[in-house]
């Protein structure tokens, strides 16, 4: 008999006419948990919503690493027989490409999860307004979207990492340093956030869908994927194309990945630059998202 349970909020209403203070206290009581854990509630929603395309996620997360590693890394590696000269260090082609492919997978999850779901939350299905009408703050909503996407990135990157290790065991035994290689998982998620969180801010600012995301895919993601030293060292490109790599979160993440995967020799200052750049992009994106979510939800 929940109505007689004195612990349950709402019990007061059944017994006597409550005062304003009692009502306020009751409302505050109901809102306490959502206020405290709002981010996680939103995360839960985002992750549950992913079940609608769960099979795609799973097939993509299994299929992409296998296809890319077989198709590009093994296929191209057969063509590029001599090792890659990566900043004076000689690296087998497969070992060179693998970290960058892993980072790309995280970033491509980011391009999916930080675009259309955000648009749907504001415009098509408007669930963010529903969240906002409850005890959740706009900041928590933005954070929840981010954590939900992180969860999917983590799944993808962990699988990718597992496949890379299997491929290396098969084709390049001893080429990686397992003690640090697992850090690629952390770097992958960070790289995905550095690209995705600013994208979330952009998505929150879009009022009308005029194909902006398709343009982001074609003119931001695609060039970044192709010109960030993913398939060959950035230094191979002419200088007038190298800037794409310098500003691209993919390049910074891939460079870090190469450090932990096979001990690429890099100036420690550069390692700091890579990490700080990725963190700054994420932080700036998050602050922008908070503001844009707040503005739009208050409208």
């Amino acid at each position: 008999m929940s109505a007689n349970d004195p612990a349950a909020p709402g019990a007061a209403a059944a017994t006597a006419t409550p005062t304003l203070d009692e009502l306020r206290a009751e409302a505050m009581e109901w809102g306490r948990r959502p206020r405290a854990r709002g981010t996680w509630y939103v995360t839960e929603h985002m992750v549950r919503a992913m079940r609608a395309y769960g099979w795609t996620i799973i097939v993509g997360a299994f299929g992409q690493p296998v296809l890319y590693l077989l198709g590009l890394a093994v296929g191209l590696a057969a063509l590029i027989q001599q090792p890659v000269d990566d900043g004076g260090q000689s690296v087998p082609y497969l070992v060179f490409v693998a970290p960058a492919l892993l980072m790309t997978s995280a970033i491509s999850v980011a391009t999916e999860e930080f675009t259309y779901p955000v648009m749907a939350g504001f415009k098509w299905r408007r669930y963010f307004f529903g969240f906002s009408a409850s005890a959740l703050s706009s900041r928590q909503i933005a954070n929840g979207v981010m954590v939900g996407a992180m969860a999917r990135m983590a799944v993808t990157v962990v699988l990718y990492f597992a496949f890379i290790m299997l491929f290396f065991l098969w084709l390049q035994p001893g080429a990686t340093t397992p003690a640090t290689a697992w850090l690629m998982i952390v770097i992958g998620v960070l790289g995905g956030l550095a690209f995705g969180v600013p994208l979330m801010a952009y998505a929150a600012s879009i009022e009308d869908d005029k194909g902006q995301f398709a343009l982001v895919q074609r003119f931001v993601f695609m060039p970044m994927f192709l010109f960030s030293g993913t398939f060959y060292p950035l230094a191979v490109l002419p200088l007038w194309l190298q800037w794409i790599g310098w500003i691209s979160p993919l390049w910074h993440a891939a460079e870090l990945g190469r450090v932990v995967a096979y001990g690429k020799e890099v100036d420690p200052a550069m390692i700091a630059v890579h990490i700080v750049y990725l963190l700054v992009l994420t932080a700036v994106g998050l602050v922008l998202s908070w503001r844009l979510f707040g503005k739009r939800l208050a409208k």
Partner: protein, 273 residues
């Protein structure tokens, strides 16, 4: 009572029930509708193969040097991948127009119900929609061919024939794509398209010769349409012609015929029977 039977229109068979000879009405409708859509998005499709060509041609090209084609001649890496990227662009353009576009018109726009309520038959709609998809493919292919010409990647005059070849490829993919789309009911089903296209793109002798694979993998790849398209276009742009190219053409002719019949039957089953 035989007079009445003669006057009654034949039901359930014959070309007249499927075809009013007016697919251009469907194409025209597509062109008019395109005016209100975002032309930047349409145009952007052209850049994808260009970016690939630049990235792979410059970067990998400097590491790989020359590559031997299946016809046994050695060409620069950029000249090796450019025709493949052209074929891939034709495939992608045709597939996106004949799947995403058709999916929306089929499930949300309810466009075909309206069209089929007129004198148009399912074959008019199928052919019109597919030919419309080809226009976009032709646009991309022409642009890319110009770039290839400027960069000196067209190695023979026969490269001109790559344009009709690209249309053939696009026609094949568009007609099968539309047939497959008619079975799709939700957005998530559409993701399967990418799951099929990505391995085809990666393995069909696009970025490296097929010869690096063991025999049995090669025969699997050869069963898929993109490989035939890549070989056909590559043969034409490098100017190494052989009678084998006709097999690739035949593959696509069968694919087109199959796709058209299949799509027409599906449209009829969905909306008329």
């Amino acid at each position: 009572m035989s007079a009445v039977q003669v006057q009654a229109p034949p039901r359930g068979g014959g070309v007249r029930a499927l075809w009013a000879g007016n697919p251009q009405a469907v194409i025209q409708r597509g062109l008019i509708a395109a005016r209100s859509s975002s032309w930047v998005v349409v145009l952007s499709g052209f850049f994808e193969p260009v970016f690939y060509l630049a990235s792979m041609g410059i970067g990998l090209g400097s590491m790989i040097g020359d590559v031997e084609t299946s016809q046994g001649i050695s060409v620069s890496y950029a000249a090796f991948i450019a025709p493949a990227l052209l074929a891939v662009a034709a495939m992608n353009g045709a597939i996106y127009d004949s799947t995403w576009n058709v999916f929306f018109k089929l499930n949300y726009g309810k466009l075909y119900e309206g069209m089929l309520a007129t004198s148009l038959g399912p074959l008019d709609v199928a052919l019109g929609e597919i030919l419309y998809a080809l226009l976009r493919g032709l646009l991309y292919a022409t642009g890319f061919m110009v770039i290839m010409q400027v960069l000196g990647l067209n190695l023979a005059w026969t490269a001109v024939l790559a344009l009709p070849a690209v249309l053939l490829i696009a026609f094949g993919f568009a007609s099968v794509g539309m047939a497959v789309t008619s079975y799709m009911k939700t957005f998530q089903h559409m993701d399967w398209i990418n799951i099929v296209l990505l391995p085809m793109f990666l393995f069909s002798a696009t970025l490296y010769p097929i010869a690096i694979y063991p025999e049995w993998v090669q025969s699997v790849i050869m069963a898929f349409p993109l490989w035939h398209g890549v070989e056909l276009v590559r043969g034409l742009t490098t100017g190494i012609l052989s009678i084998d190219l006709l097999w690739h053409v035949a593959y696509y002719l069968v694919m087109i015929a199959f796709g058209l019949v299949f799509t027409t039957r599906r449209l009829r089953a969905l909306f008329l029977d």
